[in-house]
């Protein structure tokens, strides 16, 4: 019997390690960790800042997968926003919740409304999907530079990343 602390954040790294051991994996996953964290201040006031959204979800037609099944960075339009996205392949709490409300993990309409009210300078015209990868190397060498290039193409000054 495991005691659940009702206030402490769930220890996902420990849960994941135990789960994969139960699946018969011999080596624990190694999470990325860094001593230093980069930091850039916002260059303009929020009301003049154009913001891009980033998600870990896939399009419903899974066109971000290539023939081998590898996922790649993809982009979608915020106007009109997609009704729903594919999330079944991601690790989220499928027993406690659902992802039928796309705004609960990719808040395009909320950001559009806040932009209209002048809280931010504008919402970039595309959101970008980034694969959750086992390989840190692929994320750092391929996917992250792709997301940066696409945000810049859209004129984004900053980004909000929503991880499922």
């Amino acid at each position: 019997m495991t005691t659940i602390d009702v206030d402490r954040p769930v220890p996902y790294m420990e849960r994941t390690r135990r789960y994969y051991r139960a699946l018969g994996y011999e080596q624990d996953y190694v999470w990325a960790t860094f001593a230093d964290v980069p930091f850039t201040r916002l260059a303009k006031p929020l009301g003049a800042t154009r913001i891009g959204l980033v998600t870990t979800a896939s399009p419903l037609d899974r066109s971000n997968h290539d023939a081998s099944g590898t996922r790649h960075v993809w982009s979608g339009s915020v106007a009109p926003p997609p009704q729903s996205l594919f999330t079944d392949n991601l690790a989220w709490d499928k027993d406690s919740t659902h992802t039928r409300d796309r705004e609960s993990f990719l808040p395009i309409e909320t950001m559009t409304a806040l932009a209209r009210e002048g809280r931010l300078g504008g919402l970039a015209s595309h959101f970008h999907g980034v694969p959750t990868e086992y390989s840190h190397r692929k994320t750092l060498a391929e996917d992250a530079p792709q997301v940066l290039a696409r945000l810049r193409d859209d004129g984004a000054d900053a980004a909000i990343l929503c991880a499922l």
């Binding site: 659940i4 406690s96 609960s104 980034v130 900053a158 991880a163």
Partner: protein, 125 residues
């Protein structure tokens, strides 16, 4: 996702991560993090709760604008109706030992097949 935030930030683009896996995000280390302490899957707030989702996004915007240093974590005032949720994700039931091992074997086999397909695709190219 944390790795992407770090890359954007290192290249001059400020970021804020909204997420529910606090230990993983903080272990990696990101510039700004809005933590929603609810089940994984709805980082911005419970499904269909536009009021809460808006408050979380506004908190992310404020954090983006006001953070003075990296590793800034802000806890969003969000809760989940069913307190039992904390025990569910990734639980390992000893009674399911055999089923989980079989699931693992199937996953490894699918991963091997995917790797083989990727290798043959890159050979053809």
């Amino acid at each position: 996702m944390s790795l992407v935030a770090r890359h954007l930030e290192a290249n001059g683009l400020p970021t804020v991560v909204i997420g529910s896996g606090r230990d993983i995000v903080e272990y990696c280390g990101v510039p700004r993090f809005v933590f929603t302490d609810i089940p994984l899957g709805n980082p911005v707030g419970p499904p269909w709760r536009r009021d809460i989702q808006r408050a979380v996004v506004e908190l992310a915007l404020d954090t983006l604008a006001t953070a003075e240093r990296p590793r800034m974590t802000v806890v969003a005032p969000v809760s989940w109706d069913d307190p039992a949720w904390r025990g569910r994700y990734g639980r390992v039931d000893p009674a399911e030992r055999e089923r989980l091992l079989q699931l693992g074997r199937e996953r490894r086999q699918r991963a091997d097949e995917r790797k083989a397909r990727a290798a043959s695709t890159s050979t053809e190219a």
